[in-house]
């Protein structure tokens, strides 16, 4: 590896590399072919990734028969709104949407608040038991969700919270990963501003609320994105925490649609329309915060 050592020495002695202004120059043919292949490959893969969603939208405007007979075509031969009409007028879809919206908004707000509180406390405040609590948070992150299906049902029953909005929302209010993210973020902020405020006599909550939290916007946005996506797309928790039809959320309702009832036929346009509308809010959120999502190395983890 002597040449590496040499390169490093030289690089250090020569200083930062000089960037030449980009010149238009003819690439050697091999490079052009390489570039073309690269683009072709990327485009093919991108088509594979995008096509299913295009088909989904176009099928939602087809008739049941056409959806079965001619699945691939992106343009329906007869555009019909029957699926949407059925979805909105003859099923509980609007109720499901409302339930999902309520739960998601409340969970997101709650999570942002509680998680940043806890993250700040674990990062900045000195109190007895801090390490134990943090260890508990980390330990909880290791428990897989599947183990919690049955137990959560049992606990919700014991507490009398089964089949209620409280039972749907409260368990989702705290997310161990979120605490982790906020703690890391708060640890990276320089403490001088807080010190100043403390000297001025501000209490811990005041410091947190008025000074530190506004500085935490980027991390908070991450938490908002993650909790919105997480609670909007949540299924197993709603299965075990509710049973009445009035509390059905989008995920549970569309899952029920998908498993279908006897003698109802395939009804693909209906199911796909439901799935498409269900995806719109998270898609909108995604496109708005795209840059933010793409640039953070945490990403949203799906099971």
């Amino acid at each position: 590896m002597t040449s590496t050592t040499a390169l490093t020495d030289e690089a250090v002695q020569a200083g930062p590399p000089v960037t030449l202004p980009p010149r238009r120059r003819r690439l050697p043919p091999a490079r052009i072919v390489g570039q073309v292949l690269l683009y072709a490959l990327l485009i093919v893969i991108a088509i594979i990734y995008i096509f299913p969603f295009l088909v989904q939208v176009s099928t939602s405007f087809k008739t049941d028969a056409e959806a079965t007979s001619d699945a691939v075509s992106l343009i329906p031969s007869t555009v019909t709104f029957a699926a949407y009409e059925r979805l909105f007028t003859r099923s509980d879809f609007p109720l499901w949407f409302a339930n999902s919206a309520v739960v998601t908004v409340l969970v997101t707000l709650g999570r942002v608040f509680f998680v940043s509180l806890a993250g700040y406390a674990l990062a900045r405040l000195r109190f007895r038991g801090r390490t134990v609590i943090f260890a508990m948070v980390v330990a909880v992150m290791a428990v897989p969700t599947v183990v919690l299906l049955i137990p959560k049902f049992l606990v919700l029953n014991q507490l009398g919270m089964y089949d209620s909005y409280a039972g749907m929302i409260i368990p989702l209010l705290v997310d161990a990963a979120g605490v982790f993210i906020m703690k890391n973020f708060f640890e990276s902020i320089p403490p001088s501003v807080e010190e100043q405020a403390r000297i001025d006599g501000a209490g811990a909550f005041r410091i947190f609320w008025s000074i530190v939290l506004p500085m935490a916007r980027p991390a908070l946005v991450t938490i908002v994105i993650l909790s919105f996506q997480g609670s909007w797309n949540e299924l197993s928790h709603f299965i075990v925490s509710t049973q009445s039809p009035e509390l059905t959320t989008l995920t549970k309702g569309v899952a029920g649609l998908a498993s279908g009832q006897l003698s109802q036929g395939n009804q693909y346009p209906l199911k796909l329309a439901a799935a498409a509308i269900m995806t719109i809010p998270v898609a909108v959120l995604f496109f708005i915060f795209q840059k933010r999502i793409m640039n953070t190395s945490e990403g949203a983890v799906k099971g």
């Binding site: 079965t68 038991g129 390490t131 134990v132 508990m136 049902f153 606990v155 919700l156 029953n157 014991q158 507490l159 009398g160 919270m161 089964y162 089949d163 075990v240 049973q243 009445s244 039809p245 029920g256 498993s259 279908g260 009832q261 006897l262 003698s263 109802q264 036929g265 395939n266």
Partner: protein
Amino acid sequence: MKRHTAVRLLGVGALATTAALTLAACGQGFDDGGGSDASDDLTSSDDALTVMIGSSGEAETAAVEEAIAAWSAESGVDAEVLAATNLSQELAQGFAAGSPPDLFYLSTDQLAGFVDNGSVRAYGDLLDNKDDFYPSLVSNFTVDGEFVCAPKDFSTLALVINTTLWEAAGLTDADIPTTWDELASVAQTLTTDGRVGLAFGAEYQRLGAFMAQAGGRLVSADGTEAVADSPENVEALTYVKDHLADGTFAFAADIGAGWGGEAFGKELAAMVVEGNWITGGLAADFPDVEYTVAQLPEGPAGPGTMQFTNCWGMASDSPNQEAVLDLVEYLTSTDQQLAFSEAFGPMPSIESAAADWEAANPELAAFLAGSDYAIGMPTNIGITEVITDFNAQLESLATGDPQQMLESVQTNLEAVVGG
């Protein structure tokens, strides 16, 4: 440091224990149902009722809702109908949570389990019309000598034939098959490109008819012995397998349909083995298909078909059981049962309605005729799992070994039947 850690761990442990004990103390969500009632008193209150059904489609849901609304108006007790997407799961979850529906469809295979853990209240002997039900149905719903719940209706399997395709293939009434060989040849005649002669679901609930025709069954009639691996059953499954292989029979799922009725309605099959409920489904989704119903052909051991029935289950935890009893008597009355039958097909569970039903539905007489020799589903506790497993294996019948399948079912059955 070690002392600190020990203290901390103790603290956490104490917290956890306290939390657990607190939970145990405030177990308010649960009803400590201490077994079935010793007294015959039904509960009574002003609470509205919830009725949970496992609907076969919009026709059934609408019919039940209408009936219950009429009863509500008459009796003054509010009632709500819930159509479950997964009835057994929703029932089990409701029982475990202590908030089950007051009245619900209860199938023969779930009956024993729910009676066993006290979720269901036996009320059969309290019914005004308890002597009117068919004896075979009553025995289906009798556990340990107690008549638990009122049969709501029953259906049998029969052969449903697409008359247009039948006549187009040059067949007449005389060709309606009465033996296995005739069935095979007729199916062959009707099989064309893109359409099979005979279709049915890949489950014991359909193939059991063939097994009955060969003289076999899963569990002996008195429910004490597992007889799945009999040569008669092997014969029946081999017959089906042979014709699955030569393309004249097919499973509904394999030809792109969700169930036999859909395969029939879309004319993916010219004949199907289905039950009474097909009439409602066809009327709703495929009204243009013309059909006739014939009794299933006889097998080597004579005629055989299957009978399905559900009852109206009453929850032990219901706060208003008196109203539920009243509702059940209403729903099993002659007029109401005939109305249900017209809406979605099944036959009334009371003998006094049989004549009226036949008069109203002469074209469906084959279904009623089948009840003379039909066998029901086994009712032992834990039978559902065995049948689910059998059905899973049946899906590969075309390439599988019937003997092996039946032997595995026999092993599973022996664990469940006879103690």
